[in-house]
Symmetry: C2
């Protein structure tokens, strides 16, 4: 067999070995197609960071090749970095109607709407670029209008499933496009990247419709108000809440900024069907009896500033939880949020509400495919090469094993890494080099101005606080003119530790005296001495290591 | 019916609406019996705190009444605060053999062993005090030698279940003492406090024995070394690991300080049966073939400094994970630890190990009773009054509902609070007043010297860092002699933000000039002005709010 020299490059710039900031570059000759552009929420040890976005230097360096950003769906981990990336890389953005609708709201807030070319596509649309074309294929997920993306190259099709599940009875009535997946599978797919989120779970993810049935039952039983917290973007869930409410002659009000935004966009674009008399303003709910009222709210993750947390905390201006309310948490805590969610549930119970959540009833289903669904996708598409994405290492590893179990050759699966260049053609797949990839921290208005040193300092400060030591010294004769003064924050409760601080001051005085006697004018080493002596003394006395900041004022 | 005036007081000083620091005072006339004395691990927002212990001022105030601390079992959340509390309150400590064995190790570390009276008891032992007597009743739990405690008072029995599950086939061969629970139930129990941890789970908790069977199957299949991470205190789990290893002719080594300590204590006290040739030193494992080696280790919660985390990270001095190793996480992540555990699992997979954990196989069972077991306890003991303990509010609420469902009168259940005095006699139960109760932070050597102000400062520092502004001013004419200097830590990466810092300095200079012109010598208001002006400027430029610390040196 003659070896082809041409190759497709697949370069994940995020989303591998992590949950979030999904973004992948597919490169063939002079064309780069970017799939998704997501953000990640900061880990616990990223103190003070608001958001994490991918490092896209590689795309900026190859600006002239980038044909556009192609979105699979409208979740933050797939579109959230767009406003930041578009500021550096002004390229067209393609997506289905709802996805683009959500992107519009986002770009408006960042003042980028007029400068960005947004292109609405439909499933089965094909966008022809230079040497490749990009096709959108309908899938099901926990947000409406999600698609897989197939990139047709002269070397074969590269398919990215996006986030997906197999829902035979989806709320919009249209299951994923089995026929099209089978068709491209039959013609031959070079490589497939697929969602690995739920690869650890055997069996099938339940249909979204199951949640609707359970919500209806709960709504029927409830004696008072019903408050449902769910993800703002889960339009189908919201549709089912509206349907259950309408069937039981209840009114629905919406609370929480992101929920209000998305409901407005979805209604305008026709993704929410709802008669005008069902949806009412949150300001008017008191006009109805409690048993006529349903409130849809944000806060299903226990976020401390969310509408639900404020209700639970008696800090919401319009809704106070009372005995007789039924609160439904129609979501599962995302790993890391368990304690926050738990806190809100406790507060709600404490206020007298009945609280329904995952451990007690089936009020949520996942948006991601379990093992049997992943196998179905693999069997329909029958990719020659398989690359698991959207997961931590353990998910990717297990997804490879799953692929092999349904017939992909063991040599034809590959676990990717952020930044690694994966080269593939019919003859093989391999990693060949790396491009810059990583995380950029967004903190307030700053993008990238907080790095590892700042984070290390914040961590240090958070553990044991800081001691500032100030002294004014004469430039001429190294005599101490004022101080030393020691001011601490976050170290000890000073009033109870006067003796400690007095002794610390004595230690600094001794160091200064010694330096004066030895005529030391090298302030750096003087500061070093102060720092060392204080650190040792404080550690011995307290087993703590506060940051020590010596400041010398020279006059 | 004549109303009795005498009452038993039940005062939880910890463990209610929280997981951890379990401690309850039972008071009758001049006798106070204290049940357990546990610690709590700090929440995420308790920056830098090592441990949280209960505030026992009430016990100290009533020192002469306290007859002793009676322990239900040897878990940290039931015994961990002992070294701190005993320093303030030197009373006898009662517990079963293993519990006291574990306490001894702990007191030795704190130099308290010789000054503490430790009393070993057996199930069914009764300790007679003045007006009450205390009885120990065998239960099952995830640590050996756990007991419930019944306090016999002239007004009736007050029963505290301790942590328990119902295991019909426990590893030590002795199920909980059903007969004794039934007997005191028949005679009539005034009030029962019971473990609420698993009240949300229907059905039964599986027997510990199931884990042993699964471990044996996994051990038989493993081709290379086997590394099992579990809780050090789970002696029965460790026994089953030893048994499986012996049956398959494998050697067992132990890694991790707490694991080594507990195995030593348990072996010495006869709680671990193990022939001498099974247990080998970790230093000698290389003498055996990989398929002959089992390593028991700490780190099942992903603790960054634990033996398992160090193995996963290639930082363990004696064990490096290699392809072919099978690592079994025989534990479930405690809420809050999910991400740490996940990280370790990913690293282990990355090193080539096969990793078995809860989502993949039944390698762990809970130590707490599920709904049917809780009902069994309620039906055996038939308490007149019921007080759920050991849980968050939602657990306590649901445990009350469960008690009512099996026949406890709705008026006879009561949700306790830390510090609330519960008064009970045959005629009724009610809260009547409060005693001091709360949390005391242990940070390094400091106990209680870190309070809310220090924590608030640490949190503030962790979010946006600190800016220190120093200026030397003449006392005589308020003229600036040196500075202002601005030094920041954890705020921005300074080299990239020189402009920002320069402008900040200008702002301070202007404030100082103004104050000089106005002859302001009130340094407090001068500092206030500096802080306000800088805060506004920085927030406008960065949307961050670092701590601002103005320091004036007067000469």
């Amino acid at each position: 067999m003659k070896h082809e020299k041409a190759k497709v490059k697949i370069i994940p710039l995020g989303g591998i070995n992590e949950i979030g900031k999904n973004i992948t570059a597919i490169e063939y000759k002079n064309d780069i197609v970017v799939i998704d552009c997501g953000l990640k929420f900061p880990d616990d040890d990223m103190y003070g960071i608001d958001l994490v976005i991918p490092d896209v230097s590689y795309l900026i360096k190859n600006k002239e090749k980038v044909r556009g950003i192609f979105l699979t769906h409208g979740h933050e981990d797939h579109i959230g970095a767009l406003p930041y990336v578009l500021k550096q890389l002004n390229v067209p953005v393609y997506g289905t109607k709802l996805t683009i609708g959500i992107v519009e709201t986002k770009l408006k807030e960042h003042g980028l709407l007029s400068s960005t070319e947004l292109i609405r596509v439909k499933p089965r649309d094909v966008i022809k670029l230079n040497s490749v074309s990009v096709e959108f294929i309908k899938t099901n997920h926990s947000i409406a209008d999600s698609v897989a993306i197939a990139i047709h190259t002269p070397l074969g099709v590269v398919l990215h499933t996006g986030d997906f599940k197999v829902d035979f009875t989806p709320i919009d009535g249209v299951p994923m496009d089995f026929a099209r997946f089978a068709e491209i599978g039959k013609k031959g797919v070079l490589a497939m990247m697929a969602d690995s989120t739920n690869v650890e779970r055997p069996g099938y993810t339940m249909s979204e419709r199951v949640v609707g049935e359970n919500l209806f039952k709960l709504f029927s039983k409830a004696k008072g108000r019903i408050i449902v917290a769910t993800f703002a973007s889960n339009i189908h869930r919201i549709q089912q809440i509206l349907d259950a409410a309408r069937a039981l002659n209840k009114k629905v009000a919406v609370s929480g900024r992101s929920m209000e935004n998305i409901v407005a966009v979805a209604k305008e674009l026709g993704y929410l069907e709802c008669e005008d008399d069902v949806l009412v303003s949150i300001d008017n709910i008191n006009k109805y009896n409690n048993n006529q009222v349903v409130i849809i709210t944000t806060g299903s993750q226990g976020e401390p500033m969310s509408a639900l947390a404020r209700m639970a905390n008696a800090e919401h201006r319009k809704v106070a939880i009372v005995e007789g309310d039924t609160v439904i948490l129609s979501a599962t805590p995302i790993p890391g949020n368990e304690k926050l969610v738990s806190k809100v549930i406790n507060q709600l119970f404490h206020k007298g509400a009945e609280v329904i959540y995952k451990s007690l009833d089936e009020v949520h289903v996942s948006g991601h495919a379990c093992q049997e669904e992943l196998k179905l996708m693999l069997c329909l598409v029958k990719p020659r090469f398989f690359i698991p994405v959207h997961g931590e290492y353990r998910h990717l590893k297990q997804h490879c094993e799953l692929a092999v179990s349904v017939g992909v050759s063991e040599n034809n699966v590959l676990i990717p890494e952020n930044g690694a260049i994966i080269e593939v053609n019919r003859n093989g797949i391999k990693k060949n080099g790396n491009v810059t990839a990583g995380q950029v921290f967004v903190d307030g208005l700053g993008v990238g101005d907080v790095g590892n040193i700042v984070l290390r300092d914040r961590k240090h400060l958070s553990q044991d606080g800081i001691l500032t030591v100030v002294v004014t010294i004469s430039r001429e004769d190294q005599k101490v003119i004022a101080g030393p003064d020691i001011i601490s924050r976050g170290f000890v409760y000073v009033r109870e530790s006067e003796g400690l601080m007095d002794e610390a001051k004595e230690i600094v005085k001794n160091v200064l005296k010694e330096c004066e006697e030895k005529n030391i004018t090298d302030w750096a080493s003087l500061k070093g001495r102060v720092r060392d002596e204080l650190r040792n003394y404080l550690y011995e006395k307290t087993k703590r290591k506060p940051m020590i900041l010596p400041i010398i004022m020279e006059i």
